[in-house]
């Protein structure tokens, strides 16, 4: 027996410690040195899954049915194996779209539907009440045990004398102080997370301390406990799977159902969603948590069975049969004089309960505020009410927290007596399990629609109420029991625990089966009945494809919104819900990012509207934020075709961008080649001129040489300039083409006479093969001559000196005239052939690259193609090169 003041003082001190830790962590976070950005802290924060249920309920369950307490922890272990694929996606989605609760998540996915958000909130609120009641019951019995000894039942009595009520109120106050000091649009509570992590450590250590005490203090070893238990007929079944009530068959279905239920709950309980998704700091922490959290669960469950068996053995042998197994963690130390340990154990249990309540209350109150109350308020007050609402969400949350605890207490009074702790908790599990189809389906299936989610959730919840909630109240005597046994109005088929005549299942499995079956079935069926709306389709894309659209390598995703907005109005909105400071900061940031001097200069485009809406979502939930923004902005409704088009445009824009980039690069290359080519002759000209200027006494021969070189380079330069201009004119379509009737034989003769001197110098011979007469060709004579001269001079550059041979061949047919110029030079290697017609590529050996501009062939190609023809090269190394081109008699008109 411990004195009540001692217990109270210790409890209070511990809670103050938690509060201090939270305060410290919050201060550190504000200073930018977050304490909780650590995978271990993240893992420990998940330990909030273990509540007073684990502390007291598990032991009680083990004492009556052996290993059946375990599925509740095996389920989460299996769930965490899928953490990396599934949980991480949730976190990414939540981070990307600023989702701060389960209701937000589901509502946002299905088109930012307010109705859906409200439904989810109601389910969460009602569903969580039994769980809260469970905590209160556990603490109440624990406290009673510690202060008045075993066998003291809960005093009951009038409610105003019930200490549990005051405890509930105290917890409410504590929670308010913890989590509603200020509004953080990201809904992060660093202090809370730090405190919860500490709390997880405390409860683990306390429980293990009791375990060690029982195993090696009260008995010699765990082995001895088991040996003794095995020797007793009434305890031996507890070591197997025999199940409850002496039924020797293993109720595999029930085991499976419990595991499945726990697996879903570890994510969908509001407090779990809060710490796993909303409070997550870094996605990569999920990796550590996926094995470390199951490890935590294993450790905290290690001593459950020994403690249970030890308690049964101990109290039976000491003749205190009837000690409530659920309080063995307290009664065993107490009965053996280890008062300190008993107090520690109580603190551990208290820790577990408060942790749960704090996080759960904060999560649920956020949902109620954002998705039930604020929308109602907004609708009542009207959108034109400019009153500052930035303080309202906080006030609403505080009220909700108090209400939640009071309602929990109410459930505790109404239904708490009849049930074991574990059974109460399972009712809550079954409620939140209803979120699974809509939420998981929404993350992986683009076909899920709002109607489907509403139908599934609604039906699932209704069935849950009917098959679990009502019976629990009836069994505690608050509802007439005939409806349980004979069905409502005597309809046996509608008996709540044997619906449609399905017998043979325990009530939990039965309820789970029906509710999930109908939930999933309706979700799928109704979703498929009608195509998703434009908004739903857009959100589906954003959610299901979140990995493709975020993170490394993701392009800026198109914003699915079209309309007109007014910056001033958006500012007003921000001020109204975020407060003046936050709004100013937000818009100043935007102005800075866009390079505008003042925010008024920024255009109110889709991105800005989306940004404001996202920020508001942090304060009032995404459904409300969407409604509020939509009210002040002229939005054009989007059809699914529009969405597709937006996506199309986005990808087209990306493709066009890429093309522009490569063209830009080409242009840069060309420019730098041209400048290089121009500067080279200029360099010689300038250098020679300066040398002559600086040396008046230079001898005449030297001077003459230099002047000669200057002249040659100047010529080269002007040739180059002309060609570049020519090229530019032709390419841009401004070349002036003067067509006339041309006799090709005469043209060839002209070209040869122009180059006769050059051929003679080189020692090369040229022969012409052509028909006697050719038709007249209509083309630009000068340009055509240019091409011929280019090919001839190229041939001349590469033929071997002294015995070069060039052949000019002219042939005609009905379609076109063809001219080929072949030489007996070294030829061109196959890998270089494609580059021959590129600008500034010059073939030949590096050492004796002949003087040329590198533009001759490209220009020739342009000319020939303008005349409707084609130019080509045939060559094999060592066998000379043959350039040819054809000129159609009737080319297609080519537009400049």
């Amino acid at each position: 027996m411990l004195s009540a003041p001692l217990v109270l003082a210790a409890s209070f001190a511990y809670l103050l410690l938690l509060f201090g830790v939270a305060h410290f962590a919050d201060a550190r976070a504000r200073a930018g040195r977050s304490m909780i950005s650590n995978a271990w802290v993240y893992t420990l924060s998940m330990g909030v899954y273990c509540t007073a249920w684990t502390y007291f309920g598990s032991v009680g369950r083990a004492a009556s049915s052996g290993l059946w307490f375990l599925p509740i922890y095996l389920g989460p272990t299996l769930a965490m194996l899928l953490a990396w694929p599934v949980l991480r996606k949730m976190i990414r989605i939540a981070r990307q779209y600023r989702i701060t609760s389960i209701a937000d998540f589901i509502a946002s996915r299905y088109g930012k539907s307010r109705g859906l958000a409200a439904l989810v909130t109601v389910i969460a609120l009602v569903g969580i009440l039994p769980y809260v009641a469970l905590q209160l019951k556990a603490i109440a019995s624990g406290y009673a045990l510690l202060t008045t000894g075993p066998g003291a039942a809960h005093a009951g009595g009038p409610w105003w004398r019930d200490s549990t009520l005051y405890f509930a109120l105290a917890l409410a106050g504590f929670t308010i102080a913890f989590g509603t000091r200020h509004l953080d649009t990201s809904e992060r509570h660093e202090g809370m997370v730090a405190a919860i992590a500490l709390e997880s450590v405390v409860k683990l250590l306390a429980f293990m301390a009791v375990g060690v005490f029982v195993c090696w203090g009260l008995f010699d070893s765990p082995g001895e406990i088991f040996a003794q238990a095995a020797a007793r007929a009434d305890l031996q079944p507890l070591l197997g799977l025999g199940g409850t009530g002496g039924d020797a068959r293993f109720a595999g279905g029930q085991w499976f159902a419990l595991t499945l239920l726990a697996m879903l709950s570890v994510i969908f309980l509001p407090r779990q969603f809060q710490v796993m998704v909303v409070e997550n700091v870094d996605e990569r922490h999920v990796k550590r948590a996926s094995w470390a959290f199951p490890l935590y669960l294993l450790l905290i469950n290690l001593f459950v069975l020994p403690i249970a068996l030890g308690g049964l053995l101990h109290f039976a042998s000491v003749g205190q049969g009837g000690a409530d197994p659920e309080t063995f963690v307290l009664s065993l130390p107490l009965a053996n004089g280890a008062h300190g340990l008993a107090l520690v154990a109580f603190i551990g249990g208290l820790s577990a309960a408060t942790g749960m309540i704090i996080v759960e209350a904060i999560a649920v109150s956020t949902m109620v505020s954002n998705d039930l109350v604020m929308p109602l308020l907004l609708r009542l007050r009207g959108r034109h009410d400019a009153r500052d609402l930035s303080g309202t969400p906080l006030a609403v949350r505080r009220v909700v927290i108090v209400a939640l605890l009071l309602l929990g207490y109410l459930y505790f009074r109404i239904a708490g007596e009849a049930y074991a702790l574990v059974s109460i908790g399972l009712i809550s599990f079954a409620a939140v399990a209803q979120f699974a189809p809509a939420l998981l389906g929404g993350m992986f299936w683009k076909g899920g629609t709002r109607a489907g989610a509403l139908a599934g959730l609604g039906a699932g919840f209704a069935l849950w109420v009917y098959t679990l909630m009502l019976p629990s109240i009836a069994k505690s005597g608050w509802l007439p029991t005939p409806f349980l046994h004979d069905g409502p109005f005597g309809l046996a088929l509608l008996r709540p625990e044997q619906l449609l005549g399905l017998t043979g299942l325990d009530n939990l499995t039965h309820a789970l089966l029906w509710s999930l079956l109908v939930n999933t079935g309706l979700y799928v069926a109704v979703s498929l009945a009608r195509a998703p709306s434009a908004r739903e389709a857009a959100q589906a894309l954003l959610f299901v494809d979140v990995f493709a659209r975020t993170g490394r390598g993701a392009a800026a995703a198109p914003v699915f919104w079209r309309g007109r907005a007014n910056v001033a109005v958006l500012q007003q909105l921000a001020v109204r819900f975020l407060g003046v400071e936050a709004a100013q900061r937000l818009f100043a940031d935007v102005a800075r990012q866009r390079g505008a001097g003042r925010i008024e200069a920024v255009a109110a485009d889709a991105q800005l509207v989306q940004l404001v809406e996202t920020q508001l979502a942090g304060a009032i939930g995404s459904a409300s934020a969407h409604a509020v923004v939509a009210a002040v902005v002229d939005e054009e409704p989007l059809a699914p075709a529009d969405i597709l088009r937006m996506l199309d445009e986005a990808s087209q824009v990306r493709a066009a961008n890429r093309q522009l980039e490569s063209l830009d690069k080409l242009k840069d290359d060309f420019m730098s080649s041209v400048t290089h080519e121009l500067r080279t002759p200029l360099t010689s000209i300038r250098a020679f001129a300066e040398l002559m200027r600086d040396d008046p006494a230079m001898d005449v021969a030297q001077r003459q040489q230099f002047i000669g070189l200057i002249v040659a380079e100047a010529e080269r330069l002007s040739r180059l300039v002309n060609q570049v201009l020519d090229m530019a004119k032709i390419e841009s379509g401004h070349g002036d083409w003067r067509n006339q009737a041309i006799d090709l034989r005469e043209l060839i003769a002209h070209a040869l006479s122009t180059t006769r001197e050059a051929f003679r110098e080189r020692g090369a011979s040229v022969t012409v093969e052509q028909p006697e007469a050719v038709p007249l060709l209509h083309a630009d004579r000068d340009r055509l001559l240019q091409v011929l001269l280019n090919l001839l001079s190229n041939a001349l550059k590469f033929v071997p000196a002294g015995h070069g041979r060039v052949i000019v061949r002219l042939t005609t047919d009905a379609r076109a005239a063809t001219i080929e110029v072949s030489d007996n030079g070294p030829g061109i290697a196959p890998e270089q052939q494609p580059q021959v017609f590129e600008k500034f590529r010059q073939g030949g050996e590096a050492n004796n690259r002949p003087q040329g501009t590198g533009l001759g062939l490209p220009i020739s190609r342009q000319i020939v193609e303008h005349l409707g023809g084609r130019i080509w090269l045939q060559s094999r190394p060592g066998q000379g090169a043959c350039f040819g081109f054809d000129l159609p008699w009737h080319p297609e008109e080519k537009h400049a």
Binding site: S672, R679, S684, R686, F688
Partner: protein, 122 residues
């Protein structure tokens, strides 16, 4: 003491003008007309200064600069890069690779002579 200057450029006329200029300054001159020949000549002759053109067939001036600077035994060879490209990025690249100086073409003969004197005198 007469210094040995290596001129590495593939443009014949530029080589002529540089050769004249360097001889006027009293230096001994050798010539290389492409990248590989230039690198060979540097390694063989260990000139005091190399007038290195960037755009050469075979190895580019940048590659040669890198190779020379990567060789401890050639640390005493000064490198003056000449290029028709005058963009800041190219100059920075040259300095980064270890060139002692960088001049754009067309250059002023006086400036070039001064720079050469600076590199060889100091």
């Amino acid at each position: 003491m007469t210094k040995h200057v290596l001129i590495a450029d593939d443009e014949a006329n530029i080589v002529i003008s540089l050769e004249f200029l360097m001889k006027r300054e009293g230096h001994r001159v050798t010539i290389a007309r492409d990248g590989d020949a230039a690198l060979d000549a540097i390694r063989r002759e260990r000139p005091d200064l190399v007038l290195l053109d960037v755009m050469m067939p075979g190895r580019s001036g940048f590659e040669i600069c890198q190779a020379v600077r990567g060789d401890e035994s050639l640390a005493a060879v000064k490198i003056l890069m000449l290029s028709a490209k005058g963009r800041d990025t190219d100059q920075a690249k040259g300095s980064a690779l270890g060139a002692d100086a960088y001049m754009t073409k067309p250059f002023s003969t006086r400036e070039l002579a001064d720079k050469v004197k600076q590199l060889l005198g100091g």
